[in-house]
Amino acid sequence: MRTIDDFTRPLEYVSPMDGLLGSIFRDWVEREVMPYRRRFDEDYRDHRLIHPPFKKLLGEYGLQRMIFPEDLGGWGMGRSNYMCTAAFRMFEEIARADTGMALAFGALFWPFLFIALEPHENRRLLEEFAPMFCETTEAVFAALCMTEPQGGSDIENIEIVKGSTIRTTAVLDGDEWVINGHKLWPSNTGGLAKLMAVVCTTNPGSDDPRDIAVIYVTSDTPGVTQGPPYEKAGMAADMNSDVWFENVRVPSWYRACGPGDDAKYFGEIMSTGNMGIIAWISGAMMNIYERLTEFVNRKKFRGLPLKENDAVAGVLADFAAHIEAIRIVGYQCARMCDRHDLYGPLWDPGLVAKTRAQRYLAMDRFIEVTGRVMNLMECFGADRDWDVEKHWRDLKILQLVEGSKQLCQIETARWFYECTTL
């Protein structure tokens, strides 16, 4: 009997840890997530069901440590050349059960990309924050605070806007930054985040990238307020809220990389985010394949399993073909993010544009074929117990994370066609 493991995984690309990570995550998903996930939607506010599996994965298994250097108690993946291919496998396995969990897991590491990757590792900040994540068996979450009320995803459009729309300000007062502003939508907020990386401007209205500052703030710092979680169409495990910063004071050395470099390395968030989204699509499709296979074997049409009808088989084939293609594109994307010697640095605008293109293509294809699968399943396609509709809802949200589809299109066109006014 065919399984999800019969889909092609490009073996030339996989990380040395792929098999081990795959089995750990598969086992965790089956035992800790699958039995509960159909009740996650109603758990969006409290995470009573969602938090225990995170505690096991992040705290007890120690996955929250993986990006930190080994000498600080981490696994040293930030210094490896397989961080993204390894992450692809982990993301895919989690997303098979729940894309919201996969996003929350991935977003936990975004704030650390600025300080944990070569060649811009910030040792002092790593030493400062590593104990929070590496010396506990509790799940600890971090958040990257980007989006603002007035600009939506404009901040993510950093190449053209160059930070000029950022309203969250950071003013140097002696040896402290004073931060004021209002952020929307960061993953892992709503009270979850213990540490935040906040995208600020040191000179409001400026389009000089040197005025973009990424500054770390622990959530217990006076003046930080996380609002209640938003209610969304899905993705309950990805908790989001408003976050307010009112005269928040942190040491001056809490800035990630410094003038110019904070903006430059922001591209790493986009590249890895795009890679992650393809992995989450791939994982969700694996689970849809599993549930769809059960459906078309169990359900009958004209006295035969549904899958034996030629017209139905056409839809099934399209779905399988898309899994094959999306997974291969995803691994290629991860490889491009890992191998700077072959594909250039992770923050390079060309890499950002290419991963944007791969991501939005994969997502468009997912939405189309999964919509057809739901329709094929008729009334059962909208049924929570068959799981497909959950993935359909969750991934639509994922399509719009880190900027809308149109932003992806603009960035892709801008790079490939050298557009100058978009």
């Binding site: 159909r38 939607d41 989006t147 007035q150 600009g151 939506g152 995803s153 404009d154 459009n157 053209i160 806007v161 000029s164 729309t165 929307l184 939508w185 938003y230 209610e231 969304k232 169409a233 899905g234 169990r298 359900k299 009958k300 049409f301 004209r302 006295g303 035969l304 549904l306 009808n309 017209a311 139905v312 839809v315 939405i367 919509g371 057809r372 739901m374 329709n375 094929l376 399943m377 008729e378 009334c379 059962f380 396609g381 909208a382 049924d383 929570r384 117990d385 509709e389 359909w392 809802r393 639509k396 949200i397 399509q399 719009l400 900027g403 809308s404 589809k405 149109q406 299109q409 603009i410």
Partner: protein, 411 residues
């Protein structure tokens, strides 16, 4: 100009009473549903159920077709198709789920009380349930689905969910794990297309929601349509009088479905019009900071908004085209004829697929506001996808199209 009037429809073919009904429904749903949505969201007890009562009982949608002497409005000529379209797009704009429930109710009325095919006896039996003002008649259908028993009797390849046998002047009905089209948890009347033991012709039989032997499972969770509290059913030796069988033929069954698809098409257009209004507010006020453009003035987003408006406009025209076909049997044939039924099926699938695309794109344009419950858009996206699933597989519906257009015999 009322922004809903931007999307053309054959206003000249609607009667003044249709336009008045649409206008009063527009006001009513705005006040009672749209304006309260942010506070009440999709709360069934607080928002949806009270408005189901208002629409079906107070406004009187559930009395529309029945003869006057039985308490109805006797608006039961084929031109009522326009009334159904005009009413349900207004209700659908406020809440797709409520309109979906009303579509069931109106389709059953059309099947029973349409002037040309009026079944006087059946009307006399069932009209009081709809016209006595006691409460809303929540009508649900039990139609063939993909079953799990390969030997189960089937209609066009799908398994009947209910088996009926004639016994002592009535019918005895059996079925397990039945998935109705809506409201399994609280429907007051089910219309089941049943396989009949020992006979080839199926039977459409009405089953009261309180019939002994009918048991309801727990309400299950689904993508959308909060107004439809659905649950699976078991029928165990349910006995109903012989008169509860409304018809035995495919023609009458297709007639019911044609009217049902009209209701769903209009419901879908209503959802699209709601999405238009939400996106318009967004496009009028949102500024793209990088360029300083108002959202609708950006060439890319403006073009996409234009495409969405095109989709809505074409869908509305198709809905009224279908109403026009049902309203004029002398030109197009009976609502149950192959041509009208096939057209209705094509139109409902076309409009639902168009709606899916338009809602996806509207969400994309609104980004996080598209999926945040606060902005109210995502519920239409979930609702209309759920409706599409319940209407059935487009892939297999194409076989119906091929049967009509190419004379395919074995599909």
């Amino acid at each position: 100009m009322n922004d809903l009037e931007l999307f053309p429809y054959p206003k000249n073919r609607l009667q003044k009473t249709d336009l008045d009904l649409a206008a009063s429904l527009q006001d009513l749903v705005q006040k009672e549903i749209v304006d309260k949505r942010l506070e009440l969201k999709e709360d069934y007890q607080g928002l949806l159920r009270p408005n189901l009562d208002k629409l079906l009982v107070e406004v009187g949608l559930q009395r529309m077709f029945w003869p006057e002497d039985l308490g109805g409005e006797e608006h039961n000529g084929p031109e009522a198709a326009y009334t159904v379209a005009a009413a349900l797009e207004q209700v659908g704009r406020a809440d797709t789920g409520l309109a979906y429930l009303a579509a069931h109710n109106l389709a059953l009325q059309a099947a029973l009380a349409m002037r040309e095919n009026l079944d006087r006896e059946a009307c006399a039996r069932f009209a009081p349930l709809f016209c006595d003002g006691r409460g809303p008649m929540i009508v649900s259908f039990i139609l063939p689905v993909f079953g799990e028993d390969e030997k189960a009797p089937a209609w066009r390849g799908k398994s009947f969910q209910v088996k009926a046998r004639s016994a002592s002047g009535g019918w005895v009905l059996e079925g397990k794990g039945i998935r109705p089209t809506c409201s399994g948890a609280d429907a007051t009347l089910f219309g089941a297309w049943c396989a009949v033991e020992g006979e080839e012709a199926p039977a459409f039989i009405l089953v009261p929601g309180d019939a002994p032997g009918l048991s309801r499972g727990p309400e299950f969770k689904k993508t959308g349509l909060a107004a439809s509290r659905n649950a699976d059913l078991d029928l165990s030796g349910v006995e109903v009088p012989a008169e509860n069988c409304l018809f035995r033929g495919d023609l009458e069954y297709r007639r019911l479905l044609s009217w049902f698809y009209l209701g769903i098409t209009a419901t879908t257009v209503g959802g699209l019009l709601a999405a238009y209004q939400i996106l318009k507010e967004w496009g009028d006020n949102r500024v793209i900071k990088g360029t300083g453009n108002i959202f609708k003035e950006n060439p890319l987003t403006g073009a996409l908004m234009g495409e969405i408006a095109q989709d809505i406009s074409m869908s509305r025209l198709l809905a009224y085209d279908l109403a026009g076909m049902l309203a004029d049997p002398s030109s197009f044939g009976d609502a149950g004829s192959d041509m009208v039924y096939t057209s209705a099926l094509m139109i409902v699938h076309q409009v639902l697929a168009t709606a899916e695309r338009a809602l996806h794109r509207t969400m994309e344009l609104m980004a996080s506001a598209g999926y945040a419950k606060e902005w109210q858009l995502e519920r239409y996206w979930r609702d209309l996808k759920t409706v599409q699933c319940y209407v059935g597989s487009h892939e297999l519906a194409k076989h119906d199209f091929s049967r009509w257009f190419y004379g395919a015999r074995t599909l």
